[in-house]
Symmetry: C2
Subunit: 327 residues, 2 copies
């Protein structure tokens, strides 16, 4: 059994807890929270909740610590600190800061002799893997990544900060015509506006100026100004009833050429359609935790990413079973 | 530079030759053929063609030998024999016999201290990888593999063996309704007939009984009897003009559930749309040859499959470049 600790118990932590139950070679041994443990109710009978500062006393009870903090401020501190004590997995997703995060975590994990797997999930994660495989197979080609249809937490937060807004949700939607152009092998150059639209569902406060809210959202720099954005005003009841899920997904497409005169086109497409973004991310993390435990057992250490993991390490099946059943 | 030998120069061998030119860290150093080398014209200036029996004299000139023989009779002999002398890659694709092939090749490669990578391509190969990743991420789920639209060499050969047939091509076509049912998350049980149809383009010999040919094709056991098959009679000119390519492709879909009550559905879909089946297969093989060279340099040996290769080993880019550009 691979003994797992969960460090941080929000949407992602709960997803990891559920995913562990779907894998019979793993068990949850502890949840760590910044909240008062007495107030944290978890879904696994017999497992205790501890204060985060108690983690360091449990290094002999946990094979892999899954860190479920946020990328903005939590993970840059937590992952290097915990990698000094445990094999760890995180889902650090600030793409531009991955090299810096890697260096910090690698230093800690190399010193402690632990495996620290960073940026695990679907983007970064499975999408990154597909960008790598696609580019290695078809070096003369072009990568396209589309996101959605799905809820963007960052854009939903931005809407809710607008004056007069009581609540809101934002969906990122890939543009069908752009997807079709890419699938045709035409290798189009696409602008930000051509690739995605943004769909907002907004609950206005009583008496708020809706025209003003719509204007402010649509012109918000970085978040909405570069996109075709639609704003739909709805009631809080409707928002709760129809927009409380956290679906997401997207597409990674490699379009490339082969042949003596590059006369043949090939399209590799990987897509995800997810009812629950945090639960799917958690499911990816849990199988990479299995890989982390195995790599550690084999004596490896240091910071790793999805690029470094032999796929067989992710599965509970043996090499012979995998070759017989899946190859 | 990684020095590559090509062993067998048919469609796949020519594809490998083209793919090597698309990878600046690789060079073709020799082609080996069972034909008289004087009669074999290749596309790379300055590279010589040798008799297959000359390969053993060139062990110091070749880092990886790519074996481009057929799975029925060539590879079961060639891969174990050549793995005694070289790092090798093959595309052995008789799924049911992979475990036996693995054992034979592993014995040879372990004794010689070489890396032997078997069953590399897209199915087995990239499709297998996607079955593994999908199943590891979503253990409560179901795998679906669809092939096509594309030319099946085996079924085209079967058509051409029918009495009265001068020439013919067969396309395997996935059924849209079945694909949509899978994508809906319904996890349907699909029969052979529900998943694929078979489309035949047949040139009849002068005076042949077309009704009889059609009947014989449609009722051919193993090849066509379990499918809805359509037979179109066309002229040799039309066959040459419209059906001389070797396109293929297909879909691997994992449909799975997560959540405390498995209440959330997720669909992972990987698809290929290929103008040239052998050239794409060759492109996959060439990047796994890079991995074989690296793994050998690190002192590994024995038989490996796509499941054993850390994805980073496939790319010419450094780990730092991959993390910065693709993660």
């Amino acid at each position: 059994m691979i003994r797992i600790g969960i460090y941080g118990y929000g949407n992602l932590g709960r997803g990891v807890e559920n995913a562990i139950k779907q894998n019979s070679d793993m068990e949850l041994v502890a949840v760590f929270s910044r909240r008062d443990p007495a107030t944290v109710k978890i879904n696994t009978p017999g497992v205790s909740v501890y204060k985060t500062e108690d983690a360091e006393k449990m290094t002999d009870k946990i094979d892999v610590m899954i860190i479920c903090g946020g990328s903005a401020t939590d993970l840059p501190e937590q992952t290097p600190a915990l990698a000094k004590l445990f094999n760890v997995v995180d889902s650090f997703d600030t793409h531009a800061k991955i090299p810096e995060h890697f260096d910090n975590v690698d230093k800690a994990a190399t010193e402690s002799g632990k495996i620290a797997m960073i940026s695990v999930g679907w983007d970064p994660g499975m999408f990154s893997l597909n960008r790598l495989y696609g580019g290695a197979i078809l070096p003369d080609g072009k990568d396209y990544t589309f996101w959605g249809k799905g809820v963007s937490q960052g854009h939903s937060d931005a809407i809710r900060r607008v004056d007069g807004v009581a609540d809101g949700k934002q969906y990122t939607v890939p543009v069908d015509a752009a997807l079709e152009a890419v699938r045709s092998g035409a290798n189009p150059e696409l602008t930000t506006r051509e690739k995605h639209t943004r769909e907002c569902f907004v609950v206005a406060k009583d008496g708020a100026d809706k025209a003003n809210i719509e204007e402010e959202i649509k012109n918000m720099p970085n978040y909405f100004a570069d996109y075709d954005t639609t704003v739909n005003f709805i009631s809080q009841e409707e928002l709760n009833a129809n927009h409380s899920g956290i679906p997401h997904g997207g597409f990674v497409i490699r379009s490339g050429k082969t042949g003596a005169d590059l006369e043949n086109s090939h399209i590799i497409e990987y897509s995800l359609k997810l009812d629950s973004n945090p639960e799917f991310t958690a499911s990816v993390i849990v199988c990479f935790a299995r890989a982390a435990a195995r790599m550690s057992k084999e004596g490896m250490c240091g910071c790793k990413t999805v690029f470094d993991v032999p796929p067989a390490y992710l599965s509970a099946k043996s090499g012979a079973e995998l070759r017989k059943e899946l190859l």
